[in-house]
Symmetry: C2
Subunit: 362 residues, 2 copies
């Protein structure tokens, strides 16, 4: 089979150029006589890989010098604990904006470590919108305000960052990581699992303002969850996920070659527009998200008929459009159109939807 | 450059057959049109990969049905916390046998969560031997006894398991994982990072007797460090390190094809004997470990002259014998001769040592 168009929400498609380079170098990295998988994490070879990866993500995102970049394990879920363990250290209180399952899981985990306060929620409408965040009940005694900026399952994205009234902002950006420029200074911590928009599973990247990296952590914090442990050792306190760091490094190079995050944003807007424009005029399919809260990355849609949805998912797969089934809590379909999804994939999907509509609209 | 002989202590060499298969399938896994790195961890394809990997390691090690196999992130170091968090739940006390840096780090981490008692130590002679463990001060109120069964840095291995007087035994087997048959029933928990003898970095495999998987964990245990979290979801509570699980699965198949762990033990004994026999008659090089405590996997040796050691390491590298430098705490050299190191590599090393000795022995 030739390569398919893979609309998976994550792990998800990677740039073909990156995969080709990884394939060529798999047995013998740049003439070094060994695979990246076989390299000591203390070797000069791997040191070049991780240092270059860090430099490139700093360039891409414009990360200021007073922010540390950490390459960690355990996924975003482990950070759901690490964030309060490392940050709820002044008032033991933080505000959470509940825009989906992941934000809610982060909120519940934080409750183990302190007073996590729900500031707003869009649960009333199956998280299909982002609440108004211009004047939330944020108080000075909150150690931080937490958001999941793009919600993979529900296909929403914060149209603007919340007004945190001067409180530090922490954002999980897993499903929009490197999809558009961000102003890192707007955040205290910006972090995400890489397995959606950046690289293979098993790596989370934390970008943390350095004054937040401290010994003042929750009592009983495991050494591995204390940010300072890895910050002091440039993510090499113990053996990291070397392969994932290597692949992410290749993706960073690829992104630079494409023109950086401003270019990616243009492309992602263009791809999303193709799909949303089709949905907005379709008589069979419709999007599930309020227009002002739409994600550029994850586009859920339904026909309103479960059997029709299932038929569409099956026929799309036969046509090489894979992993288009929606999350069970939303139903229907979801197309994740991350950086590595070419516009050709989106155009093919829309053509297929259009044909399907003609055949199936009664 | 052609492939080198890589004596790294970890991440370390992998079987060439495994790397070749991974390379062939990198862009398009078994005609599925995508890389393993691009597969949803919830897909049928990945489910086959992880289920087959589990079945194969169960076959290889003869893991009884009442043991769970977990594929986790964070390395052995994270388990240094997870073990007391999950197991110090009756008497909040455990015994540790200190045979090297890693056992000592595990011991220090356990002290955060309860009364960790040092039962024995070989620190007096730079951990160059395994203490007599036939009658240690183990008491009934210890929740477990902990060992690091093979000590990567110092090149020692427990000649027999300690007499734990009926207390549950927990063993870190990272640097001897799958190198020889074990009787899993002798252990309550047997675990290790895979990046030494099994696969790429970023994955730790825990084999845990199922009565130890419980909700009775240390207060404030992060959800991700509670074994029950992953046990209840067959290691798919969140996105695991899919690529590492895939590569380990290929290594398990390779081990079965070689004839299983009994055959690997024979081979490993043969390889180690070649090196130890040479060391025992050499007038320039000598091993640093007491004979009864020698590891089959990690063989440290010195000339007794730092400049001579450095010269040897440099010349060996030029001859394609890489990563032979010893750990800074032992000095000299260390050859890690894991499962994937062919006997040809060891023979080449010994030939090289022999030639070097002829040229340099005054």
């Amino acid at each position: 089979m030739s390569r398919v168009y893979n609309f998976s929400a994550g792990p998800a498609c990677l740039p073909e150029e990156v995969l080709k380079e990884a394939q060529e170098d798999l047995m013998d990295y740049k003439g070094k006589g060994m695979s990246v998988m076989e390299m000591s994490h203390r070797s000069k070879m791997f040191d070049d890989i991780i240092k270059t990866a860090e430099k490139d993500i700093r360039d891409l995102m414009g990360i200021p010098d007073n922010y540390k970049v950490l390459f960690l394990q355990g996924g975003a879920y482990q950070q759901f604990a690490a964030i309060p363990m490392n940050m709820m250290n002044k008032h033991h209180k933080a505000g959470y904006i509940l825009t989906g399952q992941w934000a809610t899981k982060a909120y519940k985990e934080a409750k183990i470590y302190g007073d996590a306060v729900a500031l707003a929620s869009s649960e009333d409408k199956t998280y299909s919108y982002i609440p108004d965040c211009s004047d939330l009940p944020i108080t000075d005694d909150m150690d931080y305000v937490y958001i999941c900026q793009n919600n993979t399952i529900y296909g929403t994205k914060f149209p603007t960052l919340p007004n945190t009234k001067g409180v530090d902002l922490v954002a999980d950006v897993s499903s929009m990581f490197l999809s558009e420029p961000v102003n890192v200074n707007d955040y205290a911590v910006i972090y995400g699992g890489v397995q959606k928009n950046v690289g293979p599973a098993g790596l989370v990247i934390d970008i943390i303002r350095d004054d937040l990296i401290t010994d003042e952590v929750y009592p009983g914090t495991p050494t591995m969850l204390k940010w300072k442990t890895q910050a002091d050792k440039d993510s090499l306190f113990n053996t990291p996920n070397c392969w994932a760091i290597y692949i992410c490094g290749l993706v960073f190079k690829w992104l630079k070659k494409q023109g950086g995050l401003a270019v990616m944003k243009e492309r992602n807007e263009k791809k999303a527009k193709v799909l949303y424009d089709f949905l907005d005029q379709s008589k069979l399919f419709h999007g599930t998200v309020e227009k002002g809260s739409r994600s550029l990355m994850n586009v859920p849609f339904v026909t309103g008929d479960k059997d029709m949805d299932a038929k569409f998912v099956a026929e799309a797969a036969d046509a090489g459009l894979l992993n288009i089934k929606g999350h069970r809590t939303v139903g229907g379909m979801r197309a994740s159109i991350y950086n590595a999804m070419p516009i050709e994939g989106v155009l093919k999907l829309v053509d297929f939807m259009s044909e399907f509509e003609k055949k199936n609209l009664k």
